[in-house]
Every structure is written in structure tokens, then in C-alpha cells.
């Protein structure tokens, strides 16, 4: 038995598709244009990606027109999806210790985790 809510709305899918293509072109342009900083690029590009995702979710996947039951399913997964990286951040992403990977040469002790690394002559 198929969902009987179909006939009650009309979505111009072609318009949504064109919109999505426009967003994609925007992200490519954002990559090619010089940005004041990397962080700005990341924010812009993720905003565009989220906008695209929202279009697909709401219109192509019909979330806009169907019941809220889907959110009940998606809520725990989304919490996990965001929560897991956050949980790992302090241990993996942020360094409170000196990174001793073989590739790094320490001219200067830098604890913010973003010192320039350069290849070191390593004899194994």
C-alpha cells in the first residue's frame, strides 16, 4: 500500500535540480576564488553543502510532506553522527602533548598542533 499523501502537493523537481546545480557551481567558484582564510572557505563550502543536503532531504526525499515520524528515527542517528566526532576531538584532534610522528622535525616546540611539518631524513 503506497503512501497516499502523494497527490496533495506539487513539487517542481526540475527547479530543485537546477538549484542544486547552482549550489554546486557556487562551491566550485568558492574553491577557485581567493578567500581571506581557510576557515572562511570551510564555512562557506559547508554552508553550501548543508543547503544542498536540505534540498535533497526536504524535496527529493519528501521530508517536507511526510510525517514527523522520520525525525524520530533520524534523531538518535544524527545525535550520534555529530556526537562521535565531538567526542573524539579532544583525544585525536587537539594536542595537549608533543606529536612525535616520524615525519615531523621539531625545530620549535609548538603545541597548537598546526606547526609546519617537513620531511626528515630517516634511516630505518
Amino acid at each position: 500500500m503506497s503512501d497516499s499523501g502523494h497527490g496533495s502537493h506539487h513539487v517542481n523537481y526540475l527547479l530543485i535540480f537546477v538549484l542544486l546545480c547552482g549550489f554546486t557551481a557556487l562551491s566550485v567558484v568558492a574553491d577557485l576564488v581567493e578567500m581571506p582564510s581557510k576557515a572562511v572557505l570551510i564555512v562557506i563550502v559547508f554552508a553550501i553543502a548543508s543547503a544542498k543536503a536540505t534540498c535533497v532531504l526536504l524535496f527529493f526525499m519528501h521530508l517536507k510532506f511526510e510525517g514527523n515520524w522520520k525525525l524520530i528515527i533520524l534523531a538518535p542517528t544524527t545525535i550520534l553522527a555529530i556526537g562521535l566526532p565531538i567526542a573524539l576531538m579532544p583525544d585525536v584532534a587537539f594536542h595537549y602533548y608533543i606529536n612525535d610522528a616520524a615525519q615531523i622535525v621539531h625545530d620549535d616546540i609548538d603545541t597548537d598542533g598546526h606547526d609546519e611539518s617537513h620531511p626528515k631524513k630517516h634511516t630505518h
Partner: protein
Amino acid sequence: MSSPSHTSPLKMGIPIPNSKLAIWLFLGTEIMFFTAFIGTYIVLRLGSPGWPTDPHDTHIHIWAGGLNTFVLLASSYFVVVAHEAMAKRNFARARKFIIYTFVLACVFLGIKGYEYYGKISHDILPGRIAETEQQGSLKAVSELSYVVTEWKNELIPQELHPEVKKANITDIETQSPDALAVLAAAKELTPEDLTALGKALVKATGNDSFSGQPITQFVQDKKKKLTAEETKAESKAVAELTELAKSKLGEDVGGQVASSRLAQVALGSLAQKEVTIEAFEAQLEQLKRYSSLNATLAEMRNAVAAETISMHEVGRKVDQLNGRGTLETNSGEAYSGIVSHDQLVRLSFEETPSVAKDDKVTLVIHHVEIAGSVHEVGETITVRTEDGPVTLHDGSEVELRFGAESHAAGIIEGHSAFESEWRVRPDEGEDQLVAASDVKSIDYFYRNRMNGSWLFFSWPRVHHPHPVVFGNLFASVYFLMTGFHAIHVIVGMILFAIVLKDGANLGANKTDFVENSGLYWHFVDLVWIFLFPLIYIV
């Protein structure tokens, strides 16, 4: 209490088909699945002190990612149209759009395949990327070693014959001219003379029969200890052989028969009619090339271990090995050395300095012609010369070394139309330049072995060293994310194939299936929407 009720029975749950609920639950799990990988990537990248982003290192091209994004978006659109058509019971239209979706999925995989081929041919694979210069050198040496060992294993069964190996003839390169001279001379002999020589050979080498026995018996078994009498007899037989050989084959060539093992083998082979001179020559040529490559490898290996050679020199040696060969022109000349297809840079100057051979001269560049197209030096151009890239700006001063006066004059005067040229650099002496139209054939000694090929795909088996710091971490997460995504695309294609399998009989019973496949496909598209900026842009 139990009167029959006329109201409809209690309805449990939400009014959707089970399959739809199931697919949404599944998509929930898929979200967690992909978050694991994408989250790992984010966290690892934030935590890593560095990350390769240069396209020369990563071979990531935004056009490929952008195109794939467009392809997936279009396929999502088509699947939604198909779903609408199914709801309106227009099954022919639905089928048409599912076919479009399927085709676009194939296009996606094709572009992905092209990207993966680029990665694989540059050996950008987890665990295989050198990260320091020493690792780069070691890797090149180990790859070359693999090629050499493989060649050796191929040569062994086809080696001249097992007795050569057993007799431990190590200086094949010095002995082979003797063998060839003997073969060439012996070819002119009558069958009777050849037989007589063969018999003398048997006697001198201590084998007691010459009647079509395998060639293995022609070489003396050194393990057998001879008595004084046997030694005397052997010396006499050898003297007789030498006498006979000199009379039949000439003083010089005949004299080699007794001393050169390989010459004896060659003579015996011919007497036995086991091997033609061409086959013998071809095998010897293979052995010589193998020995030469092996020697170069040993030299490189020792130098890398002792750290007396830089990684760039290792890279240069790899390029030279790839280029070593013989070039034959249409007029019948053959040049041997390192063959390269060079873009010759023609430079023109305001004054023509007089240049003698091997002079070093400083010139001011005003005009550069590269491959027929002219650049004014107001632009910044990077030009590849023998010593590496040179960047020229307006008023650049460049030091050029000229090999010969006429060569220098040619360059200085040159404005002539550029023709594609091949250069052969011999080990000693001057470079030979051959116009492309003059080239008849090129025989590379090692290139076919140092590179793998299948259909129209080729990949280097010995890579030019290219260390990428944090390259292995990058490759790991790259293939993790894109690989699992590609697998999900394939699964989606299977779902569409199940729909298309019905063919013209596609009916209302598949409406839910199409809707659910569509949902799955949208999810795959969603993942890619996030992968694209993460991999290609950031």
C-alpha cells in the same frame, strides 16, 4: 462488554508500508556508518600536523569531483521523476527514467574509475607512499629490485643452457663476443668439418659421446677429479681441438674455442643444430641487458644504503633507465643511449655571442619559442631544460651550456618552425638529435619491464621518487570514504537492475520498491554532497 463494535479496529503504527519504515531505519544506520568515516577523516585531519593538499601530490582534480556531483544530482532528479511516474501509473516513463538513472550511475563509476586509475598509477595507495627522501630512494630501489628479480627468473629456464649456469660462466659480457665470433665463423663450415669439430670438442671436454646427446654434456664436469694421466690426455685433446679449430675457423677465432666456455657452448650448439645464430644472439643480448641492469641496481642499492646518493639522483637514474635504448633512423643509422622525446627550447638573443665547445655563457633572454608557440618574456614562463626547470622573467639571465659550436649556433639563430625531436644521449660523446619523421623504430632496453601495461592502461612499476608527508594517512581516509561510497553506488545499481529486470512488465507492484530505491539513492547522493567539499575543496 463484548458487543460487536462498528468502529474500525484499532490501527497500530503509522500508515506507511513496512518497507518504507525499514528503509528509513536502514538509512539511519547508514548515516551512522558514513559518519564514522567522515568523522574520522575530520578528526584525523584536524589532529594531523600537516596534510597533503597540492594536486601534484594528491592527484585530486576538482573538475572530476564537480562532474560527479552533477551526475549524481541529475540521477537523483531522474529517480524522483521515475517515482512520480510510478505513482501516476505511467510505467513506461518510470522505466525510461530508471534507465537514465542507471546510465548516470555508470558514468559516475567511470569517472571514479578514471580517478582511481590516476591514483593507482602514481602509487598513491595507503602504505605505499614514501614520506621522506630516504624512504623515496629505498622504495625506488626496492621496486627496481623486484623488476630485476622477475627478469632473472624468466631468463633462467631460457638461459643459454643449464650447463652454462653450472659451469659458472660469470663474465658473460666479456665472453659473448667470442661466442658470437665462433658462431659466425662456424656457420660457414661444411657439415663434415662441423662434425669433426664437434667430436674434438667432446674429446677435449671429457664427454664420451657425440651422438645427439643434449648439449649439457658438452661442458666438462669440474667436480670430477682427474688423475695425472687423465690430465695429460685432456691437455692433448685440448691441443688437438685448438689445432683443428684454428685450421677451420682461422687463427683468432679458432684460438678462442679452447679458452672460452661460451664459445665452446656456441660451437656445440651449432654442431648439434640446437640453436640458430640469431636466437643465440638474441639470448646473449637479453643476458647482457639483464647484467647491465643488475649492475646498475647493485650500484644504486649500495649508494642509497650508504646515503651517498640523493633522492633526486635516484629519480634521475630511474628516468635514465626508462629511457635507455637504441634508436634507428629511416636512413639506417642506429644510435644507442638514453632516448628522450625532448621539447627543445629555442631561445633568441639580441646579440649572437661566439660560443666555443663546452663554453658556459650568460645570456639575456628576450624571446622564447617553445614547441612552435612564441612567448614574450613579459610573461613568466617555466621552461624545462636539462638541468631542471628554469623560470624566466623579463630580462632573465640564464646560463646555458652548449655542447658544440654548431649546436649553439642553431639555437641562437633559431626562429624556425619547431619540429618534434628525439634526442639520444650516449654514455660518451655528443647527443644526437633526430627529427621525429626520421625515426624508424626505438628499442627500449628496460622500459617494458619497468612499466606494466594492459589494454590501453599503463602504469610505472618503478616510480619516480615522490615523497608526500602524511600521504599514507591521506590515502587511507581517501580510499575509505570514496571506496565505501562507490560500493553503495554499486548496490544502488543492483536495486535499479532489479526494477529494470521486469522490462515492459513493470507494474504497480513495484511502486514501493521504486520509491525505496529512490530513497536509498538520494541518501547516496547526500553522502556525496558532503564528500565533495571535504575531499576536493577543503
